[in-house]
Symmetry: C2
Subunit: 354 residues, 2 copies
DNA sequence: GTTTAGCACTCACGCTCCCTGAGTGCTAAA
DNA sequence: TTTAGCACTCAGGGAGCGTGAGTGCTAAAC
């Protein structure tokens, strides 16, 4: 059954007032607040209906109403107005987006911290590849006769390196040979194609070179593994305590440790975002994880390029300023997409063309 | 004035009981608890003396005594017995110490997380170089005609790389030239010796190569800067809420945001450790930062090698199990020192000598 | 001089009781 | 269908009170 216009107006007013004050809203307050020209008694009747239909809840008989998850859902779907960010807000975000382009994981972590700061809620960030990665090329750099640097580059254009120190001597030609071998045998293989047998064969071809092949390939595997299973970064957990719903230390404690410790589980919470494209809002019981049953999550995803997607999100009480948070989040996500889209030649030093 | 044996025993009993229970300790409880063969009345007299001398405090007239910072200090200096870790505990730590050798900053962050988990207090970790770093060598790897990888290695043997994409063509000989130039002009220079003039000169020598020199050197400077001013990693802030002294959300909130946000200030808190060698304990007002006035900090430092030192520490209420925490911390620090001391050939793959 | 027993005193904590006021649901009139 | 009126409910806050742990002091015992 479709709600009447007035009831929608009332529901919306309840939600917005409750978001602001965290106090149950009464009929009298609503009569004055919303542009309704009816008396509090009328509103009371409507409130009773809305409560019966499950959109509102009553903490106790003699208190006002608060929105139920169902109420929030309706609000988010139909009643909420897209929040436009103020000039100041966009400026603030734009400034924050001027992050130094560093290694991918650092940037992701920074994005999380930024979002947390912008919204005053705990935030998390993660990246996920939609496909299996492979190594595109290997390079070995001789440092001195007892050490060399291995540089590997994935097909997603991430480059990682590691310094190896050896117990024995090493020469340039040897290294050349190894490089060639690596580049023939191990390029273009996904993580589980890099089998021990493959290594043994290559090792054999290399002759007696102290298992260097395995050493470098193990490193490459670590790199692939780290990229494919990159962790979830969380930031600003302490912001939880800003909000009255977490004055109860026990509650705060539970949620907080879920957010900061349980990294593997935290991943579950972002999966929904990887399907759709734009901003997603998950309200209370809509979350799969039990720990988030009275918590809401707002998610936005962005494009990293090379088949990778990033997700940033914010966690907070169901009484959350969805409009504002969603607006900020999607603005940030857009910004990040653009950032990753542009070529690597950084804006920091293009003016060197004298 | 030196305290009598009995008074010391009493003080110690008060501290240890309070550390366990977080409840003020009364004379009767003490009479039974400590191996003192005197009555509660006698103890009351001693307690009164200890209170007068500032070692103990009384929350209110009809409550027992709790240790003052001065009392904790005496306890830590003279009365505390070195805690020996149980077999299980050392085993647990040893297992945790098997961290994958990754990039330095990752390892440091992990160490912090580990310590927090071991002690159930928030922990932080940082690294600090005692000297100015320089770049030891540059390598450029041509990927294709429009991109190359720059690899820089510092004199502390840290290697970093970055992929550059270019708007224009590039050839192997060009790159060779650039490499030589970089290795002659910019090696061995500290951050502030890498002046714009130096770059301009080198740029000139390189001819028209799109400011590539500056690009790479800027990257090198970023690397040096990041290493010299590496951030403070904090972990497990939510553990604060485990302890009754932070049931007051306001307090917890304050300290927590100090720990997690205010990274620059958090550095101040670790400086003391960089002077001495072994474990350091800072009790309440001994801390410089105002936010830590009723908080204690336990610090341990370890050797990273190449002139770098690491510090790990733990933050908690003054009622902290100093003996245990200090023992764990110094055990971990020792472990880390050893870990960094050993050659890079990792223990993970030495068995490849078929 | 030190230790002990005894005793009066203090005061946080938890309990109940009570009042207040916001907010409700219902009824009857407009 | 809306409104005014009214009785009812109930959380929250304050006052008052009893309890008990713990104290300081005094006077006797060692």
């Amino acid at each position: 059954m479709e709600l009447s216009e007035r009831k929608k107006k009332i529901l919306r007013a309840v939600v917005e007032s409750y978001i602001q004050t965290a106090e149950p809203v009464g009929s009298k307050a609503l009569a004055e607040l919303a542009g309704l020209k009816v008396s509090s008694a009328t509103i009371r009747n409507d409130l009773a209906d809305l409560t019966e239909q499950g959109y509102l809840e009553q903490p106790h008989t003699s208190a006002g109403r608060i929105p139920s998850p169902k109420g929030y859902r309706l609000y988010v779907n139909e009643l909420m107005e897209e929040q436009r960010l103020s000039l100041e807000e966009t400026k603030q975000i734009n400034e924050a987006l001027h992050l130094k382009m560093q290694e991918l994981d650092k940037v992701i972590g920074q994005a999380g911290r930024m979002v947390s700061q912008l919204t005053n809620y705990p935030a998390f960030a993660l990246a996920e590849g939609s496909r299996r990665l492979t190594i595109k090329r290997f390079d070995l750099i001789l440092v001195d006769s007892a050490s060399f640097i291995a540089v590997v580059m994935t097909d997603s254009s991430v480059v990682k390196n590691k310094l190896f120190r050896l117990p024995a001597d090493l020469s340039e030609p040897q290294l050349q040979l190894l490089t060639t071998l690596l580049n023939t045998a191990f390029v273009g293989k996904t993580l589980d194609q890099l089998t021990p047998e493959l290594m043994r064969v290559a090792e054999h071809a290399a002759g007696g070179s102290y298992g260097l092949i395995s050493l470098v390939v193990s490193f490459a595997m670590e790199v692939l593994d780290a990229l494919e299973n990159s962790p979830v970064y969380t930031a600003g957990a302490s912001h939880l305590l800003d909000h009255p719903e977490y004055q109860d230390v026990g509650k705060a404690q539970k949620l907080m440790s879920y957010l900061t410790e349980d990294r593997s589980l935290a991943q579950a919470l972002a999966l929904p975002a990887l399907e759709g494209d734009d901003t997603k809002i998950l309200i209370g019981p809509e979350n799969v994880a039990d720990e988030l049953k009275d918590t809401s999550v707002v998610l936005a995803s962005y494009d990293i390029g090379d088949g990778m997607k990033g997700v940033i999100g914010v966690v907070g009480p169901t009484r959350m300023d969805y409009a504002k948070v969603a607006a900020k989040l999607s603005y940030v996500a857009d910004g990040l997409s653009k950032l990753f889209g542009q070529p690597e030649l950084p804006p920091s030093a293009p003016e060197k063309e004298e």
